[in-house]
Structures are given as structure tokens and as C-alpha cells.
């Protein structure tokens, strides 16, 4: 037994990983598609793997290779990364009371591994009524499972992409459009959300000729502003 004094820690890690299983299955196809599309989009195979290891943010990675293939400039990709990932600040603000007692050597890796999926799983663990002092080991278990899964799926996708020549002519980029559509449609609930989508669509289509894909930034901004304004007009619900 490597840790005879801390059986609880090991079981927290294991249960954290196990509870993340549905999330692993959900993320796997996206990791594979990302790896497959990254190289035709302009990343090197090594760059695709490095992005999954270092950035570790699915939607931002997808959007980045999409922008890269469309000829976007570095500032636009970085700005979009910022906007798209800003939701993570919300997650860390929510989890802060639970990690505030931990040392920075815990907080740094836990922050690095904070994804939508791990947040969803870990938040439930922290909300559980038991007073286990090892709930951050559960967080670690979920994070490591997601991280390993994401890297392996990216690797699989890169290898798959290399074995299919002229992949870019297959129309597999449609997988990206389909993924985004499948994510957006269920979110379109209520007038403010619909208005945000319509405003973003209108600006994106009108401003699509702007250089460096600046139209995307304008469209996102327009969508957010219209959404907030419509919500404001409707008053508190």
C-alpha cells in the first residue's frame, strides 16, 4: 500500500475520475475531431498536441483552429480565446471558498485543470453534506481523468488525420459546424438569448469581409450587448 495513512485520498481521486466518466465519453469525440482537423487547419502535429497539453480548453481550441484556417491574425485569436474562456473565471469564483484553504501548489494545478466538465462534477462533490477534508483530491481525480482523456483523444485524431490523405477535401470541417450548431440550439431559450444569436448572426454575415476575422469579435460583442439590453428591457423575471 503506497499510502496506508490516507486511504480516503486515494478513494476520492478514484471516485472523482469515475464520476467524470460520462464527461470523458462526451469529450472524446471532440478531442478526436480536434486532432483530426488541427493539422489541415494549419497547426503542426506537435502544435496540436501542445495545444491540448498546455491550453486544455476544448471550445477555445476548436475556435482557434477554425480562425487559423480562415486566416485570422494572432490578436483576434487571442482576443477570442479570452472572450470564450472568460466563463472559467466564473467557475473559479464559485469554487474559491472551497480551495481558499489550500496552498498555492494545489491551487495552481487545480486552476490549470478547471474545465466545464470538471467544474460540473466537482461542484456537486463540494455541495455534498459530508465534511471530508479531502474533496480537493476528488477534484484532482476528475481533472487528471479529463486531461489524460483529452490528450489521448487529440493524439488519436492527429494519427487518424495523417492516415487519411487530403482530409481537408472531405468536408470534415462540417463536423465543426455541426458541433457548434448542436451546442447552440438548446441554449436558444427566451427572447434575450434569441436576440443575442440573431444580432451575432447579422453582424457576422455583414462584417465577414473585415480583415483578420475582426467581424467575429464585433459579432460576439453585438450579441452580448443585445442580449443584456433585451434582458434589461424585460425587467427582473
Amino acid at each position: 500500500m503506497p499510502h496506508p495513512r490516507h486511504p480516503r485520498r486515494r478513494s476520492e481521486i478514484w471516485v472523482g475520475a469515475r464520476d467524470s466518466l460520462p464527461m470523458l465519453l462526451g469529450a472524446a469525440p471532440f478531442g478526436i475531431i480536434f486532432g483530426t482537423l488541427a493539422v489541415p487547419s494549419g497547426l503542426s502535429p506537435f502544435g496540436a498536441l501542445a495545444m491540448s497539453l498546455l491550453v486544455f480548453a476544448g471550445s477555445a481550441q476548436f475556435i482557434a483552429i477554425n480562425l487559423l484556417a480562415g486566416g485570422a491574425g494572432l490578436p483576434v485569436i487571442l482576443l477570442t480565446t479570452f472572450v470564450v474562456n472568460l466563463r472559467h473565471a466564473l467557475y473559479s469564483a464559485t469554487l474559491l471558498p472551497h480551495v481558499a484553504g489550500l496552498r498555492q501548489r494545489w491551487r495552481i494545478p487545480l486552476a490549470f485543470w478547471l474545465t466545464d466538465e470538471t467544474f460540473a462534477v466537482v461542484q456537486q462533490r463540494y455541495a455534498a453534506p459530508d465534511l471530508s477534508p479531502h474533496k480537493h483530491w476528488y477534484y484532482l481525480g476528475s481533472a487528471l481523468a479529463m486531461y489524460g482523456n483529452w490528450f489521448l483523444c487529440t493524439l488519436l485524431g492527429v494519427l487518424l488525420g495523417r492516415s487519411i490523405p487530403r482530409l481537408e477535401h472531405l468536408g470534415l470541417e462540417f463536423a465543426m459546424a455541426a458541433t457548434f450548431t448542436g451546442i447552440v440550439v438548446p441554449l436558444l431559450k427566451g427572447l434575450p438569448m434569441l436576440g443575442a444569436a440573431l444580432a451575432a448572426a447579422a453582424v457576422a454575415l455583414t462584417a465577414r469581409g473585415l480583415p483578420y476575422k475582426l467581424g467575429l469579435v464585433l459579432a460576439a460583442l453585438a450579441g452580448v450587448v443585445i442580449g443584456v439590453v433585451l434582458e434589461e428591457l424585460r425587467g427582473p423575471s
Binding site: G26, P29, S44, G47, A50, M51, L54, V55, A60, Q61, I63, A64, L68, I77, L78, T81, V84, N85, L86, R87, H88, S92, L95, L96, A100, R107, L110, A111, F112, G171, E173, F174, M176, A177, A178, T179, F180, T181, G182, I183, V184, V185, P186, L187, L188, P192, M193, A196, A197, A200, A201, A204, L205, R208, G215, A219, G223, G227, V228, E231
Partner: protein, 108 residues
């Protein structure tokens, strides 16, 4: 790996990490304004819609193709309907891709 690629990956790494770490690092000295909280909820819909629409309506990047002979529009439409009706992401993507590839195969 080119310098541009390195800058892209390191830049994205730094931005993503700082966003995730800011609250963990600074603790209660950082406050999230309620307006930002509300605005963030619209970000995924706004960004993703802005990416999808030009891809689907102008697949070649230059010409509008608003017709059922456009496999991108057809496939995305099927994905959207399945996602809206069943709230199942993987099923909606699979359905849309099936229609997309089937259509391209039939149309030659």
C-alpha cells in the same frame, strides 16, 4: 513548430490559465461585477452563432447559398432540429453529418 505557432499556443496558454487562476490566486480581493456575470451567459451563443452562420450560408466563403442544395445548410438544419427536439448533442452531430455526407455522395 514555427514562431507564429509557438506565439499562438503560448499566448492561448497564458490567457486561459490566467483566467482560470485569477480568483484562486487573489481570493476575495477580486470581485465579479453582476453585469459581467450576466453578459457572460450570452458569450457562447454569440460567438458560436457568429462562427456558424458564415460557414453554413456561404460555404465557399464568397457566395450566398440559401437553398436545400447546400449540404452545409441542410446538415446544420438537421443537426439543429435534432438538438432542439431531443437535446442530445452527439445524436444531433451524427445526424447532421450523416445527412451532409449522404447528400454530397448522392450529388457526386
Amino acid at each position: 513548430m514555427s514562431g507564429h505557432e509557438l506565439a499562438l499556443i503560448l499566448g492561448m496558454t497564458a490567457i486561459t490559465f490566467l483566467i482560470r487562476y485569477a480568483f484562486f490566486a487573489l481570493g476575495d480581493r477580486l470581485a465579479f461585477p453582476p453585469l459581467a456575470h450576466r453578459a457572460l451567459r450570452f458569450v457562447p451563443v454569440a460567438v458560436l452563432t457568429a462562427i456558424i452562420m458564415p460557414m453554413v450560408l456561404l460555404p465557399d466563403g464568397a457566395h450566398w447559398q440559401i437553398s436545400w442544395h447546400n449540404p452545409w445548410l441542410l446538415g446544420a438544419g438537421v443537426t439543429g432540429v435534432i438538438a432542439w427536439r431531443f437535446h442530445h448533442l452527439l445524436a444531433s452531430i451524427t445526424g447532421g453529418m450523416l445527412v451532409f455526407f449522404l447528400f454530397r455522395w448522392i450529388a457526386g
